[in-house]
């Protein structure tokens, strides 16, 4: 029967985790400052035990070739370019240890992972984009506690503390962050922008002034759209969270996620009202509410590249959005990030709350505890696992001990700078809330809000609050 077909596109439309496409990682040797000595040119056989200790017993044993021939599986949602780049980065480990570290990148990822775990066929290591998902597996007792496998003090110095917190449940570490992504950036068409004499805003008031000026010039400032099939609405939740971070203390944000303050807290209502100003004010968003709800996320920015000149000028979206711009050469204009289009930090609103950054990221969790799996996850926590990808560009490592000079490629070079200047880093709240809210009523409520053109804010926030399980 045809309707029993399952949606191939579902995953294409599924929740977008923070991610970037990558050119294949190079395998060129490079010097690193990391503890293990296994960087450098790939070797074809397990290296001699002369390597200095990594501080991890299993990883040392693996590097000495003790587990050569063992199999370790990693399951992720990274496919094609990104999957290959990740797969290539694992080659170094395979060469050094002889362990067959097999990466499988699949579509319909969340469904398949859930089914495999429940079905007793869990991968050894799995990538997870949402802390909420990790917590759900942890609550079911499926995850291996990493506190005993990894050196937690080393982890908390190498990684941003807020990421470590997110991966920790009841004082035990269950996830190892691998890559991160920053959402608090706004893309704009550099050349046209400068030609018009516009300047990059650094405060909310400047952002409003710039928007007004663009409207007065007969154009629309914002390119925002949120249609993404099953996952429609997540762009709006990012916005609301970013504004909340800038208008309320961090504790409010954290308590909001934990539901220690209600979802419809006055601080959230205030943030929504500010957001409505940018979204629903007449002429502010290109195409109005109908386009916001009706246009696919990947097409949000298209009017910015109109041959006749930008029809919208600002697009708040994470660093992977250039993947959606035209890049094939057959007669289409090409848009090079960093040349035709650049980004600025989504400005602060109230100086007392500083310059926070909203981020996302991917972590690894471990389902099966075997020595070779321990070695693999230990290796993944080192700079060695990511240095080549950082250098190749298109990748922002969660590991902060990666030397800053390795970030040479735009836009990650700019992102790394924003990350350094940030006063705080917070993870996407909707990813950490219970799925019924974070991937359910929150998205749905935002879509409804847009359909009402920003009316009934309080009622919608009340509805979402009522849906909290």
């Amino acid at each position: 029967m045809t309707t029993r077909r399952l949606p191939a596109l579902a995953a294409a439309l599924a929740l977008v985790a923070a991610a970037c496409a990558n050119p294949p990682a190079t395998t060129a040797p490079s010097a690193t400052s990391a503890p293990p000595a296994q960087s450098g040119a790939p070797t074809t056989e397990p290296s001699a035990s002369a390597a200095p200790s990594t501080g991890y017993a299993e990883l040392d044993a693996a590097l000495a070739g003790e587990y050569a021939g063992a199999d370790v599986t990693i399951l992720s949602q990274w496919i094609e370019g990104e999957g290959e780049a990740f797969d290539d980065s694992l080659q170094e480990f395979r060469d050094a240890t002889g362990i067959n570290l097999d990466h499988e990148g699949i579509s319909n990822y969340e469904t398949v992972l859930g089914v495999r775990v429940e079905g007793g066929d869990a991968p050894d290591i799995a990538q997870i984009a949402q802390p909420g998902t990790m917590q759900s597996y942890q609550a079911d007792g499926k995850l291996v506690d990493l506190s005993s496998i990894l050196d937690t003090s080393r982890i908390s110095t190498d990684f941003n503390p807020s990421l470590v917190d997110l991966a920790t449940v009841d004082g035990k570490l269950y996830g190892l962050f691998y890559k991160q992504d920053l959402k608090s950036i706004v893309w704009y068409p550099v050349q046209a922008f400068e030609a018009k004499g516009y300047t990059v805003p650094t405060t909310w008031d400047e952002l409003v002034a710039l928007s007004d000026r663009i409207v007065a010039d007969g154009s629309s400032p914002w390119c925002t759209t949120i249609e993404h099939g099953d996952a429609s609405g997540w762009v709006a939740t990012d916005w609301l969270e970013d504004i909340l971070l800038r208008t309320a203390p961090l504790e409010t944000y954290d308590k909001w996620i934990a539901h220690e303050v209600p979802f419809n807290d006055p601080a959230v209502v205030n943030a929504a009202n500010l957001m409505a100003e940018m979204w629903f004010k007449d002429g502010y968003t290109f195409g109005g509410s109908e386009r916001i709800n009706g246009t696919w996320v990947g097409d949000s920015q298209s009017p910015m590249f109109d041959p006749a000149g930008p029809k919208c000028w600002l697009h708040k979206q994470a660093a992977w959005i250039p993947d959606f711009w035209p890049k094939d050469g057959d007669g289409n204009p090409q848009f090079t990030p960093g040349e035709d289009s650049a980004f600025f930090y989504f400005p602060e609103i109230d100086p007392q709350y500083g310059k926070p950054v909203l981020g996302g990221g991917d972590m690894f969790v471990v389902f099966n505890d075997r020595p070779e799996v321990r070695a693999a996850i230990q290796w993944l926590s080192t700079v060695d696992a990511v240095d080549h990808r950082v250098e190749a560009g298109g990748f922002l490592a969660a590991n902060n001990s990666v030397p800053a000079e390795l970030y040479k490629v735009y836009p990650q070079s700019g992102l790394a700078e924003i990350a350094r200047n940030a006063t705080a880093l917070r993870f996407d709240a909707s990813d950490s809330m219970p799925k019924e809210v974070g991937a359910g009523s929150f998205w749905k409520g935002m879509v409804k809000w847009v359909a009402q053109n920003g009316d009934g804010t309080q009622a919608i926030l009340d509805e979402i609050e009522a849906s909290w399980p």
Binding site: M1, L9, A12, I79, S107, E118, G119, P326
Partner: protein, 299 residues
Amino acid sequence: MSAGVPAVAAVRPGRRQRTSLLGFVSVRVAITAIAVLWTVPTAGLLVSSFRSNADIRATGWWEALLHPFELTTWTLTNYGQVLAADGLAGAFVNSLVVTIPATAIPITMAAFAAYAFAWMRFPGRSLLFALIVALLVVPLQMSLVPVLRMFTATDLNGTFLGIWLAHTGFGLPLAVYLLYNYISQLPGELMESASIDGASHFAIFRRIVVPLSVPALASFAIFQFLWVWNDLLIALVYLGTDSTVAVLPARLRELVGTKGESWHLLTAAAFVTMVVPFAVFLLLQRYFVRGLIAGSVKG
């Protein structure tokens, strides 16, 4: 394929009587209209598959048809990228290895069962049949996890046998139901006379029921084939994406990218996947034609 309904008088002799010229014309107009209506959406996909990503997203697909000779608007890039994908040929063969047995096994099982339900007496017949029909509604998502547990325990996970069995189990209720409906309506006199001649149930099934049921078997074969051929979820869960077993939809889905950034490739991919089921339809279509069964039904 490209022409509409042919202009030559095209009424089958058996049913022509009393059909007025007006009725004849209106029938053909109606058919043509419906066929066009049904094809327009697909035509949009076909045209789009020859356009660049930027064009697809900027203007309507009919624009390309309005200016067919502006050759720059046409491109083979989408097909080039899809066909050049690594492992596509292997995935194609894997899809055949999965699909052919996963179509043949449920049909065989269902035909035997449908014959028994229709022409054999045994206690619990109605109840069992009702149960199987009721199972039509069980969403297969309910079964994914328990079946995977069973496959893991029996080492069937990631094997062709496992996925054949899974597709058989999930497809059987519909197969039994549809084939029962056909087989139960075959003329009883045929079975009776064969039975009097001393033929066993097995012989009746093989020599009378199967040949007479070809249209129904062909109909179901097409649907099961299509469903298995286009299935992604079951293949991902029970077979995985290892290149030795990965099927075509799984491979093509990877081309589209994590976030769907290359969904224009789906346009070309959709047509690449369609080739085989479409050929199967054309191949089996002649079995739907009256003449084949008419003679035998009427003895």
